[in-house]
Each structure stands twice: as structure tokens, then as C-alpha cells.
Subunit: 192 residues, 2 copies
């Protein structure tokens, strides 16, 4: 059996990444890597689904045992990708999806050069802003901040392998599947 | 408009490359690059379809004017890829298919690092031999020679970007289209 792919996906907030991934995960053969964190669960969050909620001691122990593929500290809490789960699923032939932000993705790129890096982009920054406004849940200030963050993230798009522009959702989903199928045909993954 | 891809395709004889390409060329947006040669047309061959049949003087003139993307001499005749046609079609957004053997492909790889290299392989050498025998048109000696040539070509498959194993024709055609669509999503061809 061929080893599954490691697919790293990043996108600015508001690009429809969540919708695309939830559609992709309905297909067979994918596995969504659940991150570990030391922060407390929020209401409605389920351990093992939204995150693996673990203690700071446990997290640090895993770091020292080289058990985290990548990790970062944010607001005094650790967030990271448990390595064992990723390796096990890949060796079972499952294509593992890591949904992480740009800095984490770049760390994984150094550690796993055979991973596939997909950046999901909005058709334009103006369109992203329009979509964020349409939600009607955020203040102007928060929207301005999100847009600025998005511009920062988009400036790293060229460091990914693929850029999928989410103009129409069905096309973006098809693009995602196309990239995965094509990557399995790459000569360096081939038995030839 | 985005520049079209340059798609270089090689395959051992008997792998179904011709059938795959004729199906692909039924789709819009592709252009099949016709080679130039100094050999005489064989019965039924049409100038501009099978080859551009040109004189040795004309061919040498084009070489001196840097008008050949790659060329080779074989049995005293020149064979090559006219550059102008390839460039013109790509700038019109057409995806240009070059069907050339391994040595020519490796020359193009050095000159056009943005080209996409696809190797079409048989499911196995044994299966290739079976297919060649099934045709019933070749002697044992010719078949043995073809198989030996195929093994030599297959040893270069890893130097291509993609290997498409032609087990079932429909799958191989779909694989080809998948590779082309995915390549258009690559970050280095993206406007991001």
C-alpha cells in the first residue's frame, strides 16, 4: 500500500476553508489531524474532535519526546500537531489533512519536504472584505484587522505548492481533489 | 490570459501514448506540436500533420537562428521541435503537447524548467510484452528489442514530474487531465 499524503492547508479567515475541508472529509481515505492544545475547552468543544485537550506538563513532555510535528505558543497556551497520529494514519494509506496557519505550515515544510502545501485564497482582498461584512457579525475594526491579517498571509501564498482561489465553492472542492489525485501521480511517489 | 503549459510526453512503444493523446487532443485548449524532419515523407504522411518536412539546409538554418527547441540526428536525418510554434501557441493560452523521446525530453527540461514532464508507463514490462505480442505484427526479435528499449526508457521515468501507468485507458486519460488541471493551480504559475 502506498503511504498517504500529508496535506497542509492554510487560508485567511473568510476564504471558505472550513466548508471546503468539510466537503473533502466526506470522501473516503482522508483523515483530519486534530491539534493538541493546553487551553481550556470552550463551551461545546469536544475533546478529540475540536482539539486534544491536554495539560501543559503533558504537552511539554511530548515536545521533549519529539512527539509534536510542529507547535507554537499563543496567549500563554501551547498548540501543536501530534506526530504519532499523523504517521500512523499515513502508513495506513490515509491522506492526512493538517489545517494550520502560515508559520506552522512553514515549519512542517522544513520537516516534511514530501508534504503537499495548499493555500486557499479569496478571489481578491476586496471580495474577502465583502464576504466578512456580509456575515454581519464583526465590527468595522475587527474586519479591518482580519483584512490586514489576510494580506499578510496571502503574501506567503507563493511558498505553498498550490494556490486554490475559492471563487465558486464547487470548483474549489474539485481543485482540491484534483491536486490530491495529481500528487499521487508524481514520479517521486511512483514505484517507477 | 495565462500562458499555456508546455507538456512533454514520453512513453515506450506499446504503452498506448498515441491513444491517450488523441483523446486528450479532442478537448479544447490543447495544441499538438508537430516536429520538423529532413527525412522524406513516407506514403500517406502529410506535411504539417505528421511532420513539417523541410530540407537539410532549412533545418540547419533554423538551428543557427536558434529556431529549434531541441533537435537530434538519427540515421542521417534531423528531427526537431520548431520553437516559434510552441511559443506562439503558449502565448495564446494553448497547452502545447510535445511528444518526444527521453533524450529530447531531458534537453527540454534544461531549457524550459517550467514545462510539465509526463512519462506514460505500462503496468509492467511483462504486460508491455504481452501487448506487443497481441498485435501479432512483429517478430520475436523485434519484440525483444522493443522490450529492451522500453526497459531503458522506463529507467528514466523518475526524471519526469509525473508517471501515468496506463492500466485502464479511461483512468490514464483522466490522470492526464488531472495533472494538467493541477499544474495550473501550482503557486509558481499563480498570480498570488
Amino acid at each position: 500500500m502506498n503511504k498517504g499524503l500529508l496535506i497542509v492547508v492554510s487560508a485567511p479567515s473568510g476564504c471558505g476553508k472550513g466548508t471546503i475541508l468539510s466537503e473533502i472529509l466526506k470522501e473516503d481515505g482522508y483523515y483530519y489531524s486534530v491539534s493538541a492544545t493546553t487551553r481550556n475547552p470552550r463551551e461545546g468543544e469536544v475533546d478529540g474532535v475540536n482539539y486534544h485537550f491536554i495539560s501543559k506538563e503533558e504537552f511539554q513532555k511530548r515536545i521533549s519526546e519529539n512527539g509534536m510535528l510542529e507547535y507554537a505558543q499563543y496567549c500563554g497556551n501551547y498548540y501543536g500537531t501530534p506526530k504519532k497520529e499523523v504517521d500512523e494514519m499515513r502508513s495506513k494509506g490515509r491522506d492526512v489533512i493538517l489545517e494550520i496557519e502560515v508559520q506552522g505550515a512553514m515549519k512542517v515544510k522544513k520537516l516534511c519536504p514530501d508534504a503537499v502545501f495548499i493555500f486557499i485564497a479569496p478571489p481578491s482582498v476586496a471580495e474577502l472584505e465583502r464576504r466578512l461584512r456580509k456575515r454581519g457579525t464583526e465590527t468595522d475594526e475587527v474586519i479591518a484587522q482580519r483584512v490586514a491579517e489576510a494580506e499578510g498571509e496571502i503574501s506567503h501564498a507563493g511558498e505553498y505548492d498550490y494556490v486554490i482561489v475559492n471563487g465558486a465553492l464547487e470548483d474549489a472542492i474539485e481543485d482540491f481533489k484534483t491536486v490530491v489525485r495529481a500528487e499521487k501521480l508524481r514520479a517521486d511517489r511512483s514505484e517507477y
